[in-house]
Point group: C2
Chain length 333, copies 2
């Protein structure tokens, strides 16, 4: 295991301290706990707050989407582990501007448990909340059980759109409806080539043979739907894209946003080789890419691999994606 | 070798096609060759053009720094190989707005040879040029021979500052002077943990044992100055930072820009662990970080490792760093 770290148990707090030292103009911690991060101007009076969170190890997810036009706060846990309900609640209080708080995070058991506990704590405090779960990983459940799917990289579309809705003054119910609408029109599929090595144990999150890949793998190494010989970039793009197009029932004339996301160790060059094929296939199907993102948006430490996400667009969704946003890791200018 | 690619010999052209498909609003190719990229509005009449280039495999370097307030054009070669003089010359003609063209690239033999040939071609065409070489890698030569050093990640400071100077209307000599001033006040040192695997051969660019690291390694795997047992993040930061501070003769009261750059496979979390220590050490020495960049700015495909660059600041350098810029990979808003 080759990592640039100090004491493994200090890893999460140390990179969070680094983020706070690097970006004091954009984010702050409301108390002493670097695992709770809110935008520097939080709370914004009269604005709906958005709190996200989850395990560490996915930068720029989740810490990277706190800022103007995005989320207001985040609480994160150890690598691949949920934050505590107390941490979620502290983030909630810190971003509450009097218009309520939306919880927007990925559908994982530990996160749901702790955010739900914080819902109750917030209610006692008189802070109304709504919850929308990212559940875009089509490999994790069939379409009929879409609400039970895991949340992966596609949640950034929901951060962006809900963040823009909150910024323009939408009510709590309206912001929640925007997030839900985005989630229901987002689909993601990933491929893993090499595992994450967990800092505390030094153990890989899964194992693959020298020439193997796994399609549909989760960002914590959850099993996918196909394990086999490593394919070409074009074949991989084809295998990831087809289920997404089917899941969203895309037809000629539709518009989409595309996210080609690197899982950590995969070079940007390879992501553009994938994007090229995605663009070609969608163009051939008469589907327009009205917005694209290529890079690392939700990773799994040093996992090699990638995911493709599609968001089916309409005018209002595209307008929300194009609205100004600013965090240390995400700029829409 | 696990890569998401098609035919290895098509790798470079395919990722460049991907970039062109993804960002037609920001960049274009002046002819049929995707290895020549210029900003979408090139040539900008009356503005000094800036052309960079070098080998492929370093995204976002070099292709990523073409845009408003940055470079105007780029010509790139195969992985780790120089572009041809014909390609450099084609980029030159495409960005020539009548105010001359600055060549700003890293100090490597093949690149110098081909850019110098293009200098002659441009002269025949009546396009005046100036050349400034990035030579920030302090591990590659001692201070007395600073102009012979290799160019690595620190060149992005020169792109940013020279690009801003050109954008505000500086003359060719003035833009060249800005670039030269930045280069002379920039120092970089890197550490490698695992090698790049070359797509065409499947061979690693260098070899390191399971627990080894190499300090001072070049971005093509050029030998460094110390090979030994992998150290902690804080120790690595200390070993990279001290020579940079000495090289730039930093003293209490100085201001710097810091770039903590990932070489490809190193998680963003680890870069922030390094940044934390860099910040602590500089603060302890009474040196202010007035600008910071943490992420992947100049990579070596899937090499694991990082580099630290410092730019000694004054008011005019900082103003140029803070000026607006926009490329597919770099935004200063």
């Amino acid at each position: 295991m080759k990592k640039i770290i100090n004491e493994p148990l200090r890893f999460v707090d140390e990179f969070l301290e680094g983020i706070l030292l690097a970006h004091p103009d954009l984010v702050k911690t409301p108390g002493d706990d670097p695992r709770i991060l809110v935008r520097a101007d939080a709370p914004v009076a009269g604005k709906v707050g958005i709190v996200t969170g989850g395990g560490s190890g996915h930068l720029p997810l989740f810490k990277g989407y706190v800022g103007k036009g995005l989320c207001d706060g985040v609480a994160i846990g150890n690598v691949f582990s949920s934050p505590s309900s107390a941490q979620v609640f502290e983030a909630t209080k810190a971003v509450d501007g009097g218009a309520g708080v939306l919880y927007l995070y990925g559908n994982y058991g530990g996160d749901v448990f702790n955010f739900d506990l914080s819902v109750d704590l917030a209610e006692l405090e008189g802070i109304p909340t709504r919850t929308v779960l990212g559940c875009d990983d089509v490999a994790s459940q069939p379409k009929e059980r879409a609400a039970d799917r895991r949340g992966v990289a596609g949640i950034i579309f929901a951060f962006k759109a809900a963040g823009a809705a909150a910024e323009r003054g939408d009510s709590l119910d309206e912001v929640a409806a925007v997030a839900q609408d985005i989630v229901e029109n987002t689909a993601t599929m990933g491929v893993g080539l090499t595992p994450t090595i967990l800092p505390t144990t030094g153990k890989p999150s899964f194992e693959l043979a020298e020439r193997e890949m796994e399609i549909g793998i989760g960002i914590h190494g959850e099993p996918g739907i196909h394990r086999g010989e490593l394919e070409s970039a074009d074949e991989i793009a084809d295998h990831l894209l087809a289920p997404l197009m089917a899941d969203l029932s895309l037809v000629a004339g539709d518009r989409v946003a595309v996210l080609v996301n690197g899982l950590g160790a995969t070079p940007l060059e390879e992501l553009y080789v994938l994007y090229r094929r995605v663009h070609q296939n969608l163009a051939a199907a008469g589907i327009e890419i009205a917005k694209n993102y290529v890079g690392e948006y939700a990773t799994s430490l040093e996992m090699a691999g990638a995911s493709i996400s599609l968001l089916k667009l309409n005018d209002s969704r595209l307008e929300l994606l194009n609205a100004a946003a600013r965090s240390p890791f995400f700029i829409e200018a």
